[in-house]
Amino acid sequence: MKFLKDIVDKLKPTFSEGGKLSMFHSVFDGFETFLFVPNSTSKRIGTQIHDAIDSKRTMIMVVLALIPALLFGMYNVGYQHFLAIGQDASFWSTFFFGALAVLPYIVVAYVVGLGIEFTVAQIKGHEIAEGFLVTGILIPLIVPINTPLWMVAVATAFAVIFAKEVFGGTGYNIFNVALITRAFLFFAYPTAMSGDQVWVRTQGTWGWSNGHATVDTFTGATPLGQVGTATESTPLFTDILGNNIGFIDGFLGLIPGSVGETCTLAILLGGMLLMVTGISSWKITLSVFAGGALTALAFNLWGPETAIANLPWYNHLVLGGFAFGAVFMATDPVTAARTETGKWIYGFLIGVIAVVVRVLNPGYPEGMMLAILLMNIFACLIDYYVVQANIKRRLKRATK
């Protein structure tokens, strides 16, 4: 520790005002506060002591919560790969294949996003905000594994600049930055984002395990994709080999899909950490699930005779990005409703809209992304009415 402190102290003058590298002051400050808790003390006026929580610890908790989904996602990428090419592979080869496939996305997202974040902070002379630490790990988890890296780079840059920095940076954005990345990819490069070719890596990764889908019955479509495009009204879905699968497979997650979204169990593990630590609002997560379940149930009972409308309500909750969205995306405190009453309404409507989009729109087998982005817009409005009710209460009290 002393050793690190000495290095920091030695470098500090170079990066401070007047130093040779003062143009990288914000970046240096970012690294210094990453190493050591800032030692600045309270002002003369105002609270003289502070809670030990800060935004770094908050954001790191979210990153930690994403680790189970990330590790499982890596394993699943390998698993689907070896399943598709018809090879048996050990646990570790499976995992490492997936890890090698996923790692470049993480690197690209962080390099592009943090690069922009650092640059903007430097230009404005601000401290570096930690928001992108979370966004940078969310992005690899919500893209199909065959997305070209350059697309991820372009989409990340677009989202960070136009969904965050132009609004003023972390804390001021209206839309969830990771979801804007996903939406950009979805609308700009639709062929790379849907269909049955994008979810399973059949080629090798960095030259390792080159192959191609050898199984005759191979289908790379996600279960939701299959049900969404089914011509019959029975909601059946299969794994990539064509075997019928069900709720428990969706829950455990060895199915094709975006990297981090498939395993509901891993997502809920992370979700527990977030809800117990109070970083995310359990009210939002719970109400998203409730809204989705009730809407799907309503479609089951009274909906049209299509496969997706007949998909049992509990399957809606474990397939596609529903759980991932409910736990990690809808709960982004900046873009969600900020009043406690508002959180119930906001979450519930996300669940409702996600399932409505899934069931009623034949073009989109998945509705979570659009539901959350739409409700991001309405979050302010919901809060407005909740706060307005408080204002009315106060006025009423005055005239009593």
């Binding site: 030692n39 600045s40 006026i45 105002g46 002591i49 809670d51 935004s55 804390g171 959180k343």
Partner: protein, 455 residues
């Protein structure tokens, strides 16, 4: 039957250094200073000259905006300096105290037949009007505006706050006189906030008072929170609030006809050898009671007041007349914690479940912590939601109110409850804020701005 209000939201901060209930002896100052800046919103007009002799209770300056509002010498002695700063702003009036104190005697007031105007006049003349504060704006009350009610909280829930039951021991007659006087001035019983479960007869036997009991963590003892639940301040209304010790000073003046601005001040905090109470007269410096009783080997932060709503002082700074408590803790500027964002940090207090100490405190509620004055994070835009509301038991959307205040939108502030809020009410919100925003400073600035725009 006394109404009991249970407050579920709030936070008790477990900090080391609670004062033992004994009154220590401390040397009296030789020099006493009256500092006009201690009385917010006052423009002083000095009426004494260097070399002049004053009695304890003789006027030294008055308020230019309200010439009846006098401010008096805390001790008898000789004026040795009228210190002025830039543009002849009065910084302080220094008095060398006599060995034998002479008190100016005021006419004793017969409370049985005193009128509201008489009492107000007497308080303005006695130089004790600063004790009376008003909401909205949390400033010294405007004597021309009659209050809807007068509120006194008989307990303080702030970290290491003095125990008012101990402080008021044996002074029931003073308290009763002051309560009676304010019931005459306001025409209504004085609203007294009691700690649920307290048995102190000093407070419960009061007449001309209306009682409400409060149960819950800090800020249950804040008078602002109590007003909100008893009879909230609406637009156009004014209420007065008086600190309990200030009531005792007023009571003594009413009963004995002298102005004695002596308070029992708690010296508290993790860096105090023997936290205990001291008698302090307004005008003396902190050094008198700190001498020999604080750890000197490390850099210290001296706080006038409690760690939430107090302010930093230097050792040789004159204590404000509102001081009931002094807290001493480590400054902490030379502490460098490695990887604070991931370490368990068992020595840190937090209201966040990201720290295991939050859970440990539930198992072991007696756990206390040595805080230092570090902010422990960088300032950010508001990110987390619902944090402030968790620690403020008022029906106010603090986050929205703060945003309106930052934006300077007076209509919104008014609508969202700015009239009910004082900076001290948002002190806990400032403490728990993940984004480390200076909420009390924001509220103070906004209230000043509002006052100047609306009056």
């Amino acid at each position: 039957m006394i109404q009991k209000i249970k407050l579920k939201r709030g936070l008790d901060i477990a900090i080391n250094g609670k004062a033992a209930e004994v009154i220590g002896s401390n040397p009296q100052s030789e020099i006493f200073s009256v500092v006009p800046d201690h009385f917010a919103g006052i423009t002083p007009k000095v009426v004494v000259k260097e070399g002049e002799r004053v009695e304890a209770g003789s006027p030294v300056f008055y308020n230019k905006q309200c010439s009846e509002m006098q401010f008096v010498a805390p001790v008898s002695g000789e004026i040795i300096a009228v210190n002025r700063g830039e543009r002849r702003k009065v910084l302080s009036i220094d008095i060398r105290a006599d060995k034998e104190q002479v008190y100016k005697t005021f006419e004793k007031i017969n409370l049985a037949n005193a009128s509201a105007d008489n009492l107000k006049q007497a308080l303005l003349e006695s130089g004790l009007w600063w004790c009376v504060k008003q909401r909205p704006y949390d400033v010294i009350a405007n004597p021309a505006i009659a209050p809807k009610k007068v509120f006194v909280s008989t307990f303080d829930t702030a970290p290491l706050a003095p125990n008012y039951e101990f402080v008021a021991q044996g002074k029931a007659n003073y308290l009763q006189a002051a309560v009676k006087a304010f019931s005459i001035i306001s025409g209504k019983d004085v609203e007294i906030g009691l700690r649920a479960g307290s048995t102190s007869t000093e407070f419960r036997m009061l007449q001309h008072a209306h009682f409400t009991e409060f149960e819950g963590a800090h800020p249950a003892g804040n008078v602002g929170v109590q007003i909100h639940h008893i009879d909230a301040v609406n637009k156009g209304e004014v209420v007065w609030t008086i600190n309990l010790q200030d009531m005792l000073i007023i009571g003594k003046f009413l009963c004995e006809g002298i102005v004695d601005m002596t308070k029992v001040v708690a010296l508290t905090g993790p860096e105090v050898h023997e936290p205990q109470y001291y008698r302090v007269k307004y005008g003396s410096t902190a050094s008198n009671i700190l001498r020999g009783n604080i750890h000197k080997e490390i850099a210290l932060r001296l706080v006038c007041g409690n760690v939430l709503s107090g302010h930093q002082i230097n050792e040789d700074e004159v204590l404000s007349p509102y001081t009931n408590q002094i807290t001493v803790l480590e400054e902490g500027a030379d502490t460098h914690e490695l990887f604070g964002w991931i370490m368990p940090r068992f020595d840190k207090f937090s209201n966040s479940n990201t720290f295991l100490t939050k859970i440990l405190r539930k198992v072991c509620p007696k756990m206390t912590f040595n805080f230092d004055a570090r902010i422990l994070g960088g300032q950010r835009a508001m990110i987390m939601s619902g944090e402030y509301e968790k620690v403020l038991p008022m029906d106010i959307y603090v986050e929205y109110l703060i945003k309106a205040m930052i934006a300077g939108n007076i209509d919104k502030m008014e609508a969202l409850g700015a009239y009910e809020i004082a900076p001290e009410d948002v002190a806990l919100c400032e403490f728990v804020c993940t984004s480390k925003l200076p909420l009390q400073a924001i509220v103070r600035k906004a209230l000043d701005n509002m006052k100047s725009e609306l009056e």
